[in-house]
């Protein structure tokens, strides 16, 4: 069952090269629908909602300390759902854009393979391998189809993430190393070791650095805005929508067990401080940016900081809010990136100074954009609200001041998002807007409606998602 989620993307990424060019569209649609249906089938087969839903173990060789151990539980099910939906949507966007370069589809499928592996694999070495696999397709996507100074920017991105990942690998190897005879990399064993508080701290720090670069957390974020801006739109979507969820997911599965024992210094507190600084710092920068993609990059930086801070409180509301917000942030940021992409396609610019008055030219785009903007600013009854509320509640319970500072994100976010909306959609029509194409195709409507429904449905019924992870989160937190 679970292996299908990993195998099909891999097969597709290879098969698409053999298929004739006129089959690409058909094959991609088939693949995206198939992977979503497979996911639905997996979810339907869940018989008991207690931890974990499914476990599958594929042993390659008994000599290896590592095996392909796949686990689906309440924590991994949310990024897995997000990945299937977003990959399908991103593929459809490319089809709607009439992109017929087969290697793009293949790389996205390879990315899909790596992402599903990261979220499912409960073996530290396997996790690390999948983690690195995702870096390969995104590197090529950014380096080949990017814009501007794409080579140095992509190299910077690669070096940042790769050095971070190496720190994580060292921690995993150390954890494996200190196990008694017959140990392995499976999650059950790898954290089940005795170590000094200093060693525990260093191991946690190593894993944290690996995750922090991906999320990114303040101090590790320098690659982000440049990469999001220079990457092609689908690259930014993959990065912001799904790849940074790898880091957040890693905090749940691979970082939090280390906090079960004593650490030589209060790492939890330092991480939360960094996260809260990032929340405010990113939001303030977003106010004066003029490139729409950069605004979204800093907005994303600010939002994930709050999620990471909530997770690090190790509280029920923080964890549940974090999981919900992971999904919601993925949907909203990809939806917004799509709107920016459409604006760029139709009007030839994504700079605030060249835009304005799109609402009179293209009212549907303005309507979809408004709903997504409101979702991002966490208006009640949109999907951003319940998650953000839970995260702030967890911070409030942890420490009042951090909640107060992080809570200002509500104001900052409203400032930069409404400024963005006002400058893009309202006011006088700019020259570029007047000369642009004003229609939306059926496919574009279809994709945007899915995002809009996501904003509204999850805003009104957040319980749909929260109930998936409820028992697992309770289980995790009581064990700790």
């Amino acid at each position: 069952m679970l292996i299908g989620l990993i195998l099909f993307p891999l097969i597709f990424s290879l098969v698409i090269f053999i298929l004739p060019k006129n089959m690409t569209k058909f094959a991609t649609i088939f693949y995206s629908v198939f992977s979503i249906s497979w996911m639905v089938m997996v979810v339907k087969n869940i018989s008991s909602w207690t931890n974990p839903f499914f476990t599958e173990n594929y042993v390659f060789s008994s000599n290896l300390p590592s095996s392909l151990l796949l686990v689906l539980d309440g924590i991994s099910i949310i990024p897995i759902l997000l990945t299937q939906v977003l990959i399908a949507l991103i593929l459809w966007m490319l089809l709607a854009k009439q992109k017929d370069d087969k290697s793009v589809y293949s790389l996205i499928a390879l990315m899909h393979f790596g992402l599903n592996g990261v979220f499912l694999c409960a073996d530290a070495l396997g996790f690390y391998i999948f983690w690195e696999i995702t870096l390969i397709p995104i590197y090529f996507i950014c380096a080949i189809w990017g814009e501007g100074k794409r080579m140095p920017i992509t190299l910077k991105f690669f070096l940042y993430t790769f050095i971070g990942s190496l720190c994580m690998l060292v921690s995993f190897l150390y954890l494996y190393q200190i196990q008694p005879e017959g140990g392995n990399f499976s999650i059950a064993n790898i954290f089940n070791v005795d170590m000094s508080t200093t060693a525990r701290f260093l191991v946690a720090l190593g894993i944290f650095i690996g995750l922090a670069v991906k999320i990114p957390i303040f101090g590790f974020h320098n690659w982000q805005a440049d990469t999001y801006t220079s990457a092609p739109s689908y690259g930014s979507m993959l990065l912001a929508g799904i790849m940074l969820k790898m880091g957040l997911f890693g905090m749940y599965r691979w970082l939090s067990p280390l906090f079960g024992g004593p650490l030589c210094c209060d790492l939890q507190w330092y991480i939360i401080i960094l996260c809260v600084i990032g929340v405010i710092y990113g939001a303030i920068i977003a106010i004066t940016q003029t490139d729409l993609k950069r605004i979204l990059a800093f907005s994303s930086f600010s939002h994930v900081g709050l999620i990471a801070a909530g997770i690090m409180t190790f509280s029920h509301s923080g964890w549940q809010g974090g999981l919900l917000q992971m999904l919601v942030h993925g949907l909203n940021i990809v939806g917004l990136f799509y709107i920016v992409d459409l604006i760029e396609q139709k009007y030839g610019s994504r700079d605030l100074n060249n835009l304005g008055g799109i609402a009179t030219q293209n009212k549907w785009l303005a309507i979809y954009g408004m709903i997504l903007v409101l979702g991002t600013t966490a208006l009640p009854l949109t999907n951003g609200f319940p998650g953000e509320f839970l995260l702030l509640k967890s911070l409030f319970e942890y420490q009042f001041l951090t909640a107060l500072l992080a809570g200002t994100t509500i104001i900052w976010c409203a400032i930069y998002m409404l400024r963005l909306y006002q400058k893009v959609f309202f006011g006088e029509e700019s020259k570029m807007v007047l000369s642009g194409d004003t229609s939306l195709s059926v496919a574009e409507h279809f994709i945007l409606i899915i995002f809009v429904l996501g904003v509204l449905v999850l805003g009104i019924f957040p319980q749909l998602i929260l109930s998936l992870s409820e028992s697992t989160v309770l289980n995790y937190l009581t064990q700790k």
Binding site: I284, I285, T288
Partner: protein, 435 residues
């Protein structure tokens, strides 16, 4: 909840902070000092929107919040005092600004801020029912005034400056009557709805706090000044706009006037909702009776006041308002004096016309520094991060590569020394690790 709330210690800082935060929320929503500047600016919206949300309903949400949370505020008398101080300050401040505005909607906007201030004063002394009563009557006549202003603007094809109006009472009679009713209601002329609600506030204040009463009275008189000024400049005298517009002035269609008449009727008779006892009301007003179950726990409900005193206060207010009306009629209609152009204003007058420069102050104190910080972070700090990562990745790796390259020097002797040294080092290492 009220029962639980009674157990809370009055000096508990939590209750102070909680009520203070609720009050700050109400300040923002109901446009009180210092967060009132958005309301006059929001008048850029269409008039019906202003009438509905910026005058009648949404802005009173702050009042409603405090009324709903009265059981908490009862426990924090110091915050309640603050509520009335903020309310009275806003009321007078906004009324003064309204005196020198020439945009018909701006005058009404500042008038709304001022009236909301009066409601907060009433809340601050615990007169919750009274505040709710004024919310209701205010909704009637302020929506009426806004829609009336909309009808005027519609008739003049978008003209909003009262200096370009005048003499409209003969051109658009129906709108004139409506606006007159609204003006008399907000000024508190007997027996329109505004009189009952406003006099109730003043009566309560007279009992509880004479200082606040005097200031509120002053604010009410200012209301009469700016409203009569608006009325006279718009509808009396001679038309001051250009001929082209004048030839096209027309009364609004029935579909616009019908709701105005409904509101006019409500503005006239709205006072019935909470008639004071001395003019045939129930023991203490229908509305008070209706709201009684909610406030039964409140320790601050008002006692009944002496009928003679109440009539005296009413007569005083009405008398003052009427005399203000006559004085202004003399100034603006008989002498036809006009507001001076903004440029020629000096001193205090200029300051008032510029709304005391609060918008500019906020711009310098808040907007500009935030934008400055944003640019500083976005340019300076980010490029510092760039510099660090550049140093680490580029300079660091290059220098490591450069120094390691020197080892590869093609000298066999050097290679042999390195090899022997490494073997010895490895042996020592193994020896150490074994032990």
């Amino acid at each position: 909840m009220a029962i639980h709330a009674a157990d809370v210690d009055m000096s508990d800082p939590v209750i102070i902070i909680a009520t203070l935060c609720l009050f700050i929320g109400a300040i923002g929503k109901s446009a009180q000092i210092p967060l009132y500047t958005w309301l006059p600016d929001a008048m850029a919206g269409p008039t019906p929107v202003s009438a509905l949300i910026h005058a009648a309903t949404m802005v009173t949400a702050g009042i409603y919040l405090l009324v709903r949370a009265h059981f908490l505020f009862d426990l924090a008398p110091s915050v309640l005092n603050l509520v009335s101080y903020v309310g009275i300050a806003t009321s007078i401040f906004a009324a003064i600004i309204a005196l020198r505005q020439n945009d018909i909607k701006k005058v009404l906007a500042y008038s709304t801020v001022s009236q909301l201030g009066l409601m907060f004063v009433a809340l601050g002394v615990g007169a919750y029912t009274t505040a709710m009563f004024h919310v209701t009557t205010h909704a009637f006549f302020k929506a009426l005034l806004f829609l009336g202003a909309g009808s005027v603007i519609h008739a003049l094809h978008g003209e909003q400056d009262i200096r370009n109006m005048g003499g409209l009472k003969n051109e658009i009679k129906s709108t004139y009557w409506i606006f007159l009713i609204g003006t008399l209601a907000i000024c508190g002329i007997f027996p329109l709805s505004g009189m009952f609600s406003k006099d109730e506030i003043l009566a309560v204040l007279f009992e509880k706090n004479k200082g606040l009463w005097a200031l509120s009275l002053f604010s009410s008189l200012l209301t009469a000044v700016y409203m009569f000024r608006l009325l006279f400049l718009t509808f009396f005298g001679t038309y001051r706009g250009d001929e082209h517009t004048k030839s096209k002035i027309h009364e609004s269609p029935m579909v616009m006037m019908a709701p105005l008449w409904v509101l006019a009727i409500l503005s006239v008779f709205g006072g019935i909702l909470n008639l004071p006892h001395l003019i045939g009301g129930e023991s203490y007003g229908k509305m008070a009776h209706f709201l009684d179950p909610i406030f039964s726990h409140s320790k601050l409900t008002t006692e009944h006041m002496d009928a003679g005193l109440e009539i005296g206060l009413m007569a005083l207010v009405v008398g003052l308002v009427v005399s203000i009306g006559f004085v202004l009629y003399n100034i603006y209609v008989k002498k036809e004096s006009l507001p001076k152009p903004d440029m020629s204003l000096r001193g205090v007058e200029a300051l008032v016309a510029k709304k005391f420069g609060v918008d500019e102050l906020y711009d310098t104190v808040i907007s500009k520094p935030v934008l400055g910080i944003s640019r500083f972070f976005g340019q300076k700090v980010e490029s510092a991060f760039d510099g660090i990562s550049g140093f680490f990745f580029v300079t660091g790796f290059k220098s490591i590569g450069n120094s390691l390259r020197k080892i590869q020097n093609g000298n066999v002797e050097f290679y042999l020394i390195m090899m022997t040294g490494s073997i010895v080092a490895l042996m020592i290492l193994q020896f150490l690790v074994k032990i």
